[in-house]
Amino acid sequence: MQMKSRKLRRNSIDQTHFLQGNEACAEGAVAAGCRFYAAYPITPATEIAEHLARRLPPLGGIVIQMEDEMASMAAVLGASWAGAKAMTATSGPGFSLMQENLGLAFMTETPCVVVDVQRAGPSTGQATKCGQGDIMQARWGSHGDYNTIALLPNSVQEMFDLTIRAFNLAEAYRTPVVVLADEIIAHMTERANIPSLNDIEINNRRKPKPGDELFFGGDDIPPMPAAGEGFNVAVTGSTHDERGFRVTADPIAHTRLVGRLHRKIEQDQKKIAEYEANNAENCDIGVLSYGCTSRAAYEAVERAREDGFAVGHIRLKTMWPFPHWGVRTMAESAKSIVIPEMNLGQALYEVQRAVEGKASVIPLNKIGGDEMITPEEILAKIAEVS
C-alpha cells in the first residue's frame, strides 16, 4: 500500500498498477489536471476523496471536505470559475443533493466533473451494496429543460480513462459531466495501465481574447473567462443574455439560451456517445448492458454463441446522450433485446424509445444487493426468448 501510493505520488507513469476502481478514478482526475476537489464522505465513493487528499496537495491542489453535498457542488463551481479543473464524487443520496447546483452548472456553462458511484436505493437503501438506480436521475434529476453527459465505466481501467474523458468533455462543451460508476466497479481491484502523461489527450476550455464580451452566447460553446482576469464576467443561474445579464421575462432570450445549451450537446451526440457493438447488426437476440452488469453479459454472450444462439451485444460506455442509432441498428435484425440492469428497469425505457417497437425489449432485473446479475441468468434469459 505504502509502495503503491509512493509510486503514484512520484507520477511513475507509463506502467501497470493493481488499483481499486475509486483509486483509478482519482488518478484519472490527477492526470486530467484536476486541482480542486470538494466532497462529503459517502459510501461507496469515499476512497476517491481519500486518495485525492494524499495526491493533490503535493501537486498544489486542494481537497476540502465540505459540510454537505450542496456545498461540495457549489465549491466545485466556484473553483471552476476561478479557473481550476474541479471535481466532486458521491453516491445516490448525495447525488440527489447535488442536483440543485448541477442545474446551476448547466445553466451557467461551468465545466466540472461529478462522479456518482451508484449504490442500492431509494433513500439510504443499501449503502455498501451495488445498484444501478441512478440512470434516470443522471438524466432528469435537476429541474427544467437541461441536457446531460453521463459516462459508464465497466472496469478499473475505465474508471481512469473515462474520468479523463469526463474532464475533456466538460472542458470542450463547458458543461458538467457525470461519471456514472457503480459500487462493484468502484470497489473492485484489478490491473490498470496509467500511460505517460504525454500520451494522454487533454482538453482545456477555450479562453476569451481581450475585449471579448459574449461569454454566454454568440458561439454555441462560448469562451470562458475566469474570475480575476479583468473581463467583469456576470454569471447567473437566472435566464440571461449573451453577456450574462438577467433577462428573466423575455421569452425569446429564454428560448435562445436553453435551446443553445441543449443543442450544443445534442448536435454532437454521435461524437460524445460511445458504445461497443459486437455482432449487433446481424443477430437474432441482442443484449444491451452497461457498468458492472456488462461483465456478466460478455461471458453470457460468449457462452450463448457456443450454444448456437446468434447473439449480438451492445455495451454502453455513455448513458447520456443515449446512442439510440446504435441500438436502433441492432433492432433491425434482433427480434428481442435483453437488458440486464441492477434496478427495476431504467435504461430499458430508453431502449424502447430507440427501437420503436422493432424488437421486443426484455428486462432482466435484480435488486437486493446480494450478488450481481450472473452470466447464467443472462444466458437463461437468452434461451427463454429465443
Binding site: 470538494a38 456545498a71 461540495s72 466556484g78 447546483n101 447567473t236
Partner: protein, 276 residues
C-alpha cells in the same frame, strides 16, 4: 481618508438597480462602494462577488462592474469558498439577504465562520421574505403578522451576528441602514480582515415588512431603527426585558486567528515536504 471625489457610478454598470423606492439595499450598495473607495480601490478588478437568491443578492449582480457569480438560494458562501481557495489573492465578497444566509444557507454561514474562510459576507436583514411578498423569515421579530403568519409569528428570530461570532469568525458586526458611518467603517475593517468577516445590516423593506407592521415609508423604519438601536456595550448592562424589541449594534467579534487560506498554505507546504 475622506470620501471626496466618491461617486458610486465609478463602480457600477450603466443599469438601473431593480430595488423598490426606499429600499435599504441602495444604502448598503452605496456604503459598501464608499468603503471600497476610501480603501483606495479605483475599480473592482481585485474583487469577486458571489450572491444567492433574493433582493440583496442583486446588489452586485450584475450591477457592480466586476466579476460576479449569482448562484442558487443559500449557496453563495460555498461558491465563494471555491473561488477564494483557487484565487486567494482576490477579495471575495458575498452579498445576501437574511433568508439566503441565515435561512436556507445557515449551515454554510456557520461553517464559513468555523473555517475562518477569508471572505467578507454582508447580510441585508430586512426581517422578512421581501421578494416573494412578506412571508415570515428566521429573522422576523416574534408576534409579527406576515402573509404566512397571519395570527402573528410564533418563533424566536436568530441573532445572526452573535451566531457568527460564536462560530469562530474573526469579525462580526451588526449595524442598521441608519448607521451609515459605522457601517462604512465596518466594511473597511471587514475587507482588511484575514479570516471570515460578517456584517449584518438591519435594513428597511418598506414594501413588504413596512406594509406588514404599519411603517409605510423608509423614513418611518429608519426612525424606528434609530430609536431602538442599543450599542453593544450599553446592552451588556441591560436585562432581557429591557432589551426586548431592541437592535443591539456594534462589533461582536474582532480577532486575528489564522484564516483558512493561511491554514491551507501551511498544509500545502507540509504536503510538499512529505512528498519529497
Amino acid at each position: 481618508m475622506s470620501s471626496s471625489g466618491f461617486s458610486s457610478r465609478q463602480y457600477l454598470r450603466e443599469m438601473r438597480f431593480p430595488f423598490c423606492p426606499g429600499c435599504g439595499d441602495y444604502t448598503i450598495a452605496n456604503t459598501f462602494l464608499q468603503a471600497v473607495h476610501e480603501l483606495g480601490f479605483q475599480d473592482l478588478k481585485r474583487f469577486v462577488f458571489c450572491s444567492g437568491i433574493g433582493c440583496a443578492s442583486w446588489i452586485p449582480s450584475p450591477y457592480f462592474k466586476a466579476d460576479s457569480i449569482h448562484t442558487t438560494h443559500g449557496r453563495s458562501i460555498p461558491v465563494a469558498l471555491g473561488v477564494k481557495l483557487i484565487r486567494p489573492d482576490l477579495n471575495v465578497v458575498v452579498f445576501g439577504g437574511d433568508g439566503d444566509l441565515v435561512g436556507i444557507g445557515l449551515s454554510h454561514l456557520i461553517h464559513a465562520a468555523r473555517r475562518n474562510l477569508d471572505i467578507t459576507a454582508i447580510m441585508s436583514n430586512n426581517m422578512i421574505y421581501g421578494m416573494t411578498g412578506a412571508q415570515v423569515a428566521p429573522t422576523t421579530p416574534i408576534s409579527t403578522k406576515t402573509t404566512t403568519t397571519p395570527y402573528g409569528s410564533f418563533e424566536q428570530p436568530i441573532d445572526a451576528a452573535r451566531v457568527v461570532a460564536a462560530g469562530g469568525a474573526n469579525y462580526s458586526a451588526r449595524w442598521t441602514t441608519h448607521h451609515t458611518e459605522p457601517l462604512k467603517d465596518a466594511v473597511k475593517t471587514a475587507l482588511q480582515t484575514k479570516g471570515f468577516a460578517f456584517i449584518e445590516v438591519v435594513s428597511q423593506c418598506p414594501t413588504a415588512y413596512g406594509r406588514q407592521v404599519g411603517l409605510k415609508t423608509s423614513k418611518d423604519i429608519l426612525q424606528w431603527f434609530e430609536k431602538n438601536s442599543v450599542a453593544l456595550k450599553d446592552a451588556e448592562g441591560m436585562s432581557g426585558g429591557e432589551l426586548e424589541g431592541k437592535i443591539v449594534v456594534g462589533e461582536f467579534a474582532k480577532r486575528s486567528a489564522p484564516g483558512l487560506v493561511q491554514n491551507i498554505q501551511g498544509m500545502l507546504e507540509e504536503a510538499r515536504k512529505v512528498a519529497h
